[in-house]
């Protein structure tokens, strides 16, 4: 009962705060994007190369770029009020459909990558802290530093070279075997096979972050009095580590993972590019290049929703991990 009321209060607060936040994000994004030099007509005319002034004027009229700035903004907001993200002239389809096509695969890929990162990162960090100063810790520290500093595209390419080119175990890119017409479990397995390499390349960077963070937090918590008490009570070392140390050490990791989760819809342009993965990151990036701002605004808007949702979830998670934290 009490829990439910608390939950309701959190949700109400989130909704009340989300509306002005989202409105601010839309207006700010819109204005920032308009500052970019050149518009969609410039890019399109540039790409076909033999445009005339008439065709450019026609393009601008079609895209609504000939209207004053304020009117363009109002038109966009008007669309949003009707739950429409507008139309992408570049792709010739509604933005919501375009994003909808890519949303599931992006969520799956990024979700898997973050899950791997959190699990492996925490395990790695705890191991490092438990063996602090010894060679296991040293080796793992060097490895995580390596993951952290090596650029994602390079790791991605090297994984492709090893597992696709040399060993031939995994596909080199894409999100499914095209035209294989797989169904049911075969299709799921096929998708998973295509996700292993990109998810791993994405995860390695976060593994390093979470590993380092967990190590530091665990070391700090391990020196607390109540940990000594727990050990003195005769609890098994593993129980002490998991129940007394790790639970308290998780707060910074979950905070950071929450921030990363919020950015999930932004995708990972580099990894998506290297693995030819049709994700939202690439869609957003290509929209910037093509000045296809309806699409970009749509992606940014969804991302901001996700950030708000992720923050709320993390608040709730914190309250559960550490009951002393009051959810305001």
């Amino acid at each position: 009962m009490f829990e439910n009321r608390r939950l309701l209060r959190v949700l109400r607060r989130t909704v009340v705060q989300a509306v002005p936040t989202v409105l601010g994000i839309v207006v700010l994004n819109f204005l920032l994007l308009k500052l970019a030099p050149g518009d969609a007509a410039d890019v399109m005319a540039g790409e076909f190369g033999t445009a005339t002034e008439e065709t450019m004027a026609m393009l601008r009229r079609q895209f609504g770029l000939d209207l004053p700035l304020l009117q363009q903004l109002l038109a966009y907001l008007g669309n949003l009020v009707q739950f429409s993200l507008g139309f992408s002239p570049r792709y010739g389809m509604p933005v919501s459909e375009l994003i909808g096509q890519r949303l599931p695969s992006t969520l799956m890929l990024m979700g898997l990558a973050l899950a791997i990162a959190v699990v492996v990162g925490i395990a790695l960090g705890t191991t490092m802290a438990m063996t602090a100063g010894r060679w296991t810790d040293r080796v793992l520290s060097v490895v995580s530093l390596l993951f952290y500093s090596v650029p994602g595209f390079w790791i991605g390419l090297m994984l492709i070279v090893l597992f696709s080119v040399k060993l031939g175990w995994l596909p080199s890119g894409g999100q499914e075997t095209i035209g294989a017409g797989l169904t049911g479990l075969d299709a799921v397995a096929d998708r998973l096979k295509h996700m292993i390499l990109p998810a791993t390349s994405l995860a390695l960077f976060y593994v390093a972050i979470y590993g380092r963070l967990t190590r530091a937090a665990v070391l700090e918590v391990a020196s607390q009095d109540y940990v000594r008490t727990a050990a003195a009570k005769g609890l098994a070392p593993l129980t002490v580590t998991l129940r007394h140390v790790l639970r308290n050490a998780l707060l910074p990791v979950t905070t950071l993972a929450g921030i990363h989760f919020g950015g999930i819809l932004g995708g990972a342009v580099v990894v998506e590019t290297v693995y030819s993965w049709p994700g939202l990151g690439r869609l957003a990036f290509e929209s910037v290049m093509r000045r296809d701002f309806n699409v970009l605004l749509g992606v940014l808007l969804l991302s901001s929703f996700l950030v708000i949702i992720a923050n709320t979830l993390i608040d709730l998670l914190h309250a559960w991990l550490d009951p002393r934290i009051e959810v305001r």
Binding site: A36, P37, G38, D39, D42, V43, A45, G46, E47, G49, T50, A51, T52, E53, M56, M58, R61, Q62, F87, P89, Y91, G92, M93, L98, Q101, R102, F153, L157, I160, V161, S164, V165, G168, P171, S172, G173, G174, Q175, I178, G179, T273, V274, Y275, S276, P278, G279, R282, L283, E286, M289, R290, R291
Partner: protein
């Protein structure tokens, strides 16, 4: 039936399928092209039917059983994959996931590795339908560049053979005339590149009243490059210019910003452009040199703001001349005048690079390269 107000000598060539696909009259008749576009229609007369198109990932084309030219097409299915990263494409080729790729499918630095590949062949050619051409346009509104000696000096400061060998790994041809060497019917071989001669360039710049200052530099210029061209070309040109005392600064802009900078703001002094000649000089070359096509805000127009009445006259006459011999003479004259006036320094024509499975035949049967319709493509054992 097309009724023309004037003869149009290039029209026949323009009717190739990659440039002018056949579209269904019953769907397009009476459609207002200026209206906001609806969902795209992909209905044509080609050998394949679009089965599936996942944007950003792939398109699947299935054999058209009703194709007019039986028993073609030979392939049951063509899968087109969209892979934005050249290194990833190289890996996919090596993993055996790809059979065919065009437009420099792998990084140029990787090409050598494919020479002795057991399954893949590298095919480098020029295709007359593309007329690839890279050139430097001068902004003739920049005071210092109004002096022809300065432009001549810049032309003498560039080693075109070295550009071909270093920047393009040998996968280009020196193309010194405004009409690309790839357009064999129209290129005039009498137009030759100015000799690479830094000493002469220095002398010309001194004569032009641009002595070296205290820091060894004569004057600054802003050098831009079309982002679809390998950025190392800008680096090469920048260093060549600095060697003769021209303080060039490069700016790497993405495409939208580049187009705006050059064609709307005109905030550049030199730009390395890729004014492709397409299949005919009237279509592809005229836009860059015709004074009536100096249009602020129009991409790939006359960026130099070059104006020569005789050039205008030749271009306009050649556009409606149906006698190929006379037309060739006009374009030759045009090329010689432009070469003399130096509104641009024409550099090279990059070769089309195709990587293909050794078992594939007829993937590029004509001048369109991979742009042809694939009806003849087949595998052999």
């Amino acid at each position: 039936m097309i009724v023309l107000s004037k003869p149009s000598p290039y029209l026949m060539v323009a009717l190739g399928p990659s440039e002018s696909p056949i579209v269904p009259k019953h769907l397009y008749d009476g459609v207002d092209v200026a209206a906001p576009p609806g969902p795209p229609l992909h209905i044509g007369t080609g050998p394949f039917i679009l089965k599936e198109w996942v944007r950003g990932s792939h398109a699947v084309l299935e054999r058209n059983p009703n194709y007019w030219d039986k028993p073609k097409p030979y392939l049951d299915r063509v899968i087109i994959r969209f892979m934005p990263d050249a290194a990833a494409r190289a890996a996919a080729f090596e993993a055996g996931d790809l059979d065919l790729g065009g437009s420099a499918p792998v990084p140029l630095s990787d090409l050598a590795r494919y020479k002795d590949h057991p399954k893949l062949a590298v095919d480098t050619r020029s295709f007359a339908y593309t007329g690839a051409q890279h050139q430097i346009f001068f902004n003739l509104d920049t005071p210092v560049l109004k002096n022809k000696k300065v432009r001549e000096a810049i032309a003498h400061s560039l080693d075109l053979d070295a550009i071909v060998e270093t920047v393009f790994y040998g996968q280009a041809k020196v193309s010194p005339s405004p009409v690309s060497v790839a357009l064999t019917p129209w290129y005039d071989p009498a137009v030759q590149a100015r000799k690479f001669d830094p000493a002469l360039a220095n002398k010309l710049l001194d004569e032009a009243g641009q002595p070296r200052g205290a820091n060894g530099m004569r004057f600054p210029v802003r050098l831009l490059i079309n982002p679809f061209i390998d950025g190392r070309l800008a680096e090469f040109v920048r260093q060549s210019l600095r060697r003769v005392g021209i303080d060039a600064t490069t700016q790497n802009l993405e495409f939208g910003a580049y187009v705006k900078n050059v064609y709307t703001d005109r905030s550049f002094d030199l730009t390395i452009e890729s004014l492709t000649n397409v299949f005919d000089p009237t279509v592809g070359v005229q836009r860059g040199y015709w004074s009536k096509n100096f249009r602020i805000g129009l991409p790939f127009s006359n960026s130099a703001n070059y104006s020569n009445p005789e050039v205008d006259r030749l271009l306009e006459a050649a556009a409606i001349e149906i006698d190929p011999a006379k037309r060739k003479t006009m374009f030759s004259q045009f090329q010689r005048i432009v070469h003399e006036d130096i509104p641009s320094v024409d550099l090279i024509s990059p070769l089309e690079i195709i990587i293909a499975n050794k078992r594939i035949r007829n993937y590029a049967p004509g001048a369109e390269g991979l742009g042809a319709n694939f009806a003849d493509v087949h595998f052999v054992d």
